[in-house]
């Protein structure tokens, strides 16, 4: 059976053809200024259930966002998944119509860096695998995970995916960016139950540019270890506790409040920060946070953003002070700086972080320097994963109230917490950090050490 997704190059983008079509349709429409971002992906994924294939999926997707400037410098955009010449012509007409309603007070421009040389991040390409190979790998992983403990009865959520992505940015001044990469990922979310007790669950995720290098073994071990540790659980008292956030949980929290670093959110009044916040001490002085899209562990990195600006590493918090923001072309112009490579593409351009890296600064010592997740004997709550971020975070107010998976730890012994929520204020969390551990741990969403915070409210289901 030949079911490799590389056997046919259907859906691949052709920058020269796209450019010539756009030039023709823009000339026909008397549009002299335009830019375009397109992406394509091919993807195969499998799911299994108790040793059998559950669902096998494949896709070829194309999409394009076209932006035009009319003679009054108003911007209009259109997105389409129809990349035929007819579809592109329709998109051009749609963008021109939308431009009549473009914001007269604020228009994006081309990024001044759209033709600057890119950092060669040289992504690794994976040799494509057949569906049978993917299935075989996932079936083996499922069995291996279930076999690790008699109480683990199933892996209800699982998936193994292999995909190829490409992205293009073109503009009417000759900018021409094109990049391809491959990515593989596995997630395993297992369920276990002991007699007369509630079902428990835990999971793990791994991502790599190459399926052959995907660390499936560690994903199985992490899921199993966590799940077994959740079998012995208890409810906890509602109170204020010393908390240790796992790297995953701390990154989840920082990502949820990333509007603090987002210049667009600041301009729109949606951020906790304002235009004068640069330089302010917003966290303990030994905290550093940067956004490092070019970090070698960021396997999904593209070398340019939606506006063609090169991806860059940016220091956001240095020694507890807010030092930089994430910018598009428009926000950078307003702040008098250069774009940072974090933009999307639109009439109103969104900005978002790529790959957050949390670290400990050398400038100050920790308030509680002896705390360490490996050997601390005092009582604390270890928060491993936060849930319901989309509903439990009020980013513009700074508050959060979130269910979590974790353990109460005493004398070094972990007991899983039955059900609880953690609530607080992000700025207080950043100021109440008492220890940032030295060891930085790579996760699928960034890098962080364990971070300890005192005096946080936990509500137990008691």
């Amino acid at each position: 059976m030949d079911n490799s997704i590389s056997s046919q190059q259907i859906g691949e983008l052709d920058p020269e053809l796209l450019n010539s079509l756009l030039e023709r349709y823009s000339n026909d429409s008397e549009i002299v200024k335009w830019d375009m971002g397109a992406s394509a992906s091919r993807d195969v994924s499998v799911q299994v259930q108790q040793g059998n294939a559950k669902q096998l999926k494949g896709s070829q997707r194309n999409s394009m966002t076209l932006r035009v400037w009319n003679k009054y410098n108003q911007v209009g955009i259109t997105s389409t998944s129809d990349l035929t010449s007819e579809g592109i012509n329709k998109a051009m007409r749609g963008a021109i119509e939308a431009s009549l309603f473009g914001n007269k007070k604020e228009s994006p421009e081309f990024s001044p860096l759209a033709k600057k040389e890119l950092v060669d991040i040289n992504p690794k390409s994976s040799n494509p695998h057949s569906i049978d190979e993917l299935l075989s790998i996932l079936k083996k992983a499922e069995k291996q995970l279930i076999d690790t403990h008699q109480s683990i009865d199933s892996v209800p959520y699982n998936g193994l995916n292999e995909s190829y992505m490409e992205r293009i940015y073109l503009n009417s001044e000759g900018a021409n960016r094109h990049m391809k990469l491959s990515q593989s990922s596995i997630y395993l979310y297992a369920k276990a139950q002991e007699e007369n007790k509630k079902p428990r669950s835990a999971g793990g995720i791994r991502i790599n540019s190459n399926l052959d290098e995907l660390d499936i073994e560690s994903c199985i071990n992490e899921t199993s270890d966590k799940l077994i540790s959740h079998l012995n659980y208890k409810s906890i008292e509602t109170s204020k506790y010393l908390i240790c956030f796992s790297p995953e949980a701390f990154l989840q929290l920082i990502n949820a409040f990333s509007s603090m670093f987002n210049a667009r959110s600041i301009i729109d009044g949606l951020s906790l920060m304002n235009e004068d916040s640069i330089g302010n001490q917003i966290a303990v002085s030994n905290l550093n946070i940067s956004d490092e899209g070019l970090h070698p562990e960021n396997v999904g990195a593209f070398s340019f953003d939606g506006e063609g600006t090169p991806t860059q590493n940016v220091k956001l918090i240095s020694n507890g002070r807010l030092t930089n923001l994430l910018h598009s072309e428009a926000t950078a112009r307003k702040f008098g700086v250069k774009p940072t490579g974090h933009a999307g593409l639109g009439a109103k351009v969104s900005v978002s972080p790529d790959w957050l890296v949390v670290s400990k600064s050398e400038s100050d010592i920790d308030k509680e320097k002896n705390l360490n997740v490996k050997n601390t004997l005092k009582e604390y709550i270890l928060i491993d994963e936060l849930s319901a971020i989309h509903s439990g975070v009020k980013a513009s107010q700074g508050s959060f109230s979130l269910p979590f998976d974790g353990w109460i730890v005493n004398d070094g012994k972990r007991i899983s917490i039955e059900a609880a929520t953690v609530a607080g204020d992000i700025l207080k969390v950043l100021k109440n950090i008492v220890k940032i551990e030295n060891e930085q741990i790579v996760t699928h969403q960034g890098i962080s050490p364990h971070v300890w915070v005192e005096n946080i409210s936990i509500t137990g289901e008691a």
Binding site: G58, Q60, S63, I77, S387, S401
Partner: protein, 469 residues
């Protein structure tokens, strides 16, 4: 491009595709074709800041062999593109076209066209000009209500979708769907206090919906909520009785129970109710349905994404579980009959069993009687989003809440999150009021984000964990 129009003339081409799949040995082959024409607009303060039209085309091809299925989606609707997708889906199951098995395809039935009366809906919907005027009117109306509103945003989305479903069991059906939503968001600020408030209104199958939108009423409601929450204190955490308001309060049932009654969950073995048909799973005060009929409701549909007309599915009657929601694959794998609940966000997802308009039926009490029955608890007037985990643990946030003291509403509180487990909470819904109402929302799950309606009358939960500070 093979498919410029979705109508009876496509029959030979689709039959050829399906026949190839069937003759390769598939038990069933299904083709889903989609065209979309959407716009989204954003008004901030007193200006339009974003206008984003989008167009889409695509196909999803699904092949069943036994209880396994292979699904491939593509934007390429050329003959070569669709054949490639079919071959890939077949190949996933070890099948190859040209095998010439003895499986016969009897051909498609006559087209069941649910879109006949909807062909002019796209043209009849508000154009960009009309939509932008309406949004600016909304943000200005908010400004008129209160000068403390630091941020005023109004958004509008119009999603038009034409679909055609064909399968080797003879299904051949077309539909046009039209969904419109308006969202209002404000941030109120005074001194160091800040509050955010949001509302969403939405309907299906009504081109005039935006024109009929009562802007003044919406602006008043939102402003009142933002002002009341501006000086609200954080709720004190603990276990307490809770009264949940009608409309979007129904998200508790959606998360706590609805998802667990989808065969998607049964297939995974993650529903605590898998063996509970005809058993008492909720308080006898609770009866609940999921249907696709309510006039203009956001989750209503003429046919599901597998070409089946929706049903009025009684899920729970007086606390007793009566039925699950099932799509084609769910029925195949669990044995529960299909309920017209096979839904997907678009062509790139395989259909799965999903909710439509889901609500708890109304009871005989007045809302006041519910509040009067609580000495010390919480009134949740407006709910945020929520989620349910693989073991039935659910959570959702309270956007606007008030303490209840001695049977009366007391001061406003913020920061509350309700958590619990479906099996434990359903028996604690002890009172239902007589004011059933529905609200529009979006639900994300295995087959993407779909339009749904949640709903309920005011209900009382005897005890639930309220997370706070």
């Amino acid at each position: 491009m093979l498919f410029h129009t979705f109508d009876e003339t496509l029959k030979p081409q689709i039959e050829e595709l399906l026949s190839l799949g069937k003759s390769a040995g598939a038990d069933l082959v299904e083709v889903f074709l989609e065209k979309s024409d959407n716009i989204s607009l954003l008004a901030e303060q007193d200006d339009i800041s974003n206008v984003s039209p989008s167009f889409g085309i695509g196909a999803g091809i699904r092949v069943f062999l036994g209880k396994k299925d292979g699904f491939v989606s593509t934007n390429d609707l050329s003959k070569e593109g669709l054949l490639f997708a079919l071959n890939q889906a077949l190949g996933m199951l070890g099948l190859v076209t040209g095998s010439l098995t003895n499986d016969k395809f009897e051909g498609l039935s006559d087209l069941r066209d649910f879109g006949t009366k909807k062909n002019d809906w796209l043209e009849h919907s508000p154009n960009l000009d009309e939509s932008t005027i309406k949004l600016i009117e909304a943000t200005k109306s908010l400004a008129d209500k209160n000068k403390n509103l630091q941020v005023r945003r109004a958004s509008y989305a119009r999603n038009w979708q034409e679909v055609l479903v064909a399968a080797t069991d003879g299904v051949f059906a077309r539909d046009i769907r039209l969904h419109q939503t308006v969202g209002l968001n404000v941030i109120a600020q005074q001194d160091k206090n800040r509050s955010t408030s949001a509302r969403r209104y939405g309907s299906s199958d009504n081109p005039d919906d935006l024109r009929n939108w009562e802007i003044e009423k919406s602006a008043c409601e939102l402003n009142e909520s933002a002002q009341k929450m501006l000086y609200a204190e954080y709720v004190e955490a603990g276990q307490m009785p809770v009264v949940l308001a009608n409309k979007f309060g129904g998200v508790i049932f959606h998360e706590a129970c609805g998802h667990l009654l989808e065969t998607t969950q049964l297939e995974r073995g993650t529903s605590p109710f898998h063996d509970s048909i005809d058993k008492q799973i909720a308080h006898k005060a609770v009866s609940a349905v999921d249907e696709g009929f309510s006039n203009h409701a956001f989750g209503s549909l003429s046919m599901d994404d597998e070409g089946m007309e929706p049903q009025n599915t009684l899920l729970i009657e007086k606390g007793i579980l009566k039925k699950f929601l099932s799509d084609r694959a769910g029925s195949l794998r669990t044995g529960h009959p299909r309920t017209g609940s096979g839904r997907r966000q678009n062509f790139s997802f395989a259909a799965a069993s999903r909710m439509r308009n889901t609500y708890i039926k109304q009871g005989n009490f007045s809302p006041d009687e519910l509040i009067k029955s609580v000495d010390d608890g919480l009134y949740c007037k407006s709910m945020g989003g929520g989620s349910v985990g693989p073991t039935g643990q659910f959570n959702f946030s309270v956007e606007e809440g008030y303490l209840i003291k001695n049977g009366k509403l007391d001061k406003p509180v913020k920061g509350a999150t309700l958590i619990g487990e479906a099996k434990e909470i359903l028996p604690r819904i002890s009172m239902c009021a007589n004011d059933l109402d529905l609200a529009a929302g979006f639900c994300g799950s295995v087959s993407g984000s779909v339009n749904v309606t949640v709903g309920q009358p005011h209900i009382k939960v005897d005890s639930i964990t309220v997370g706070g500070r």
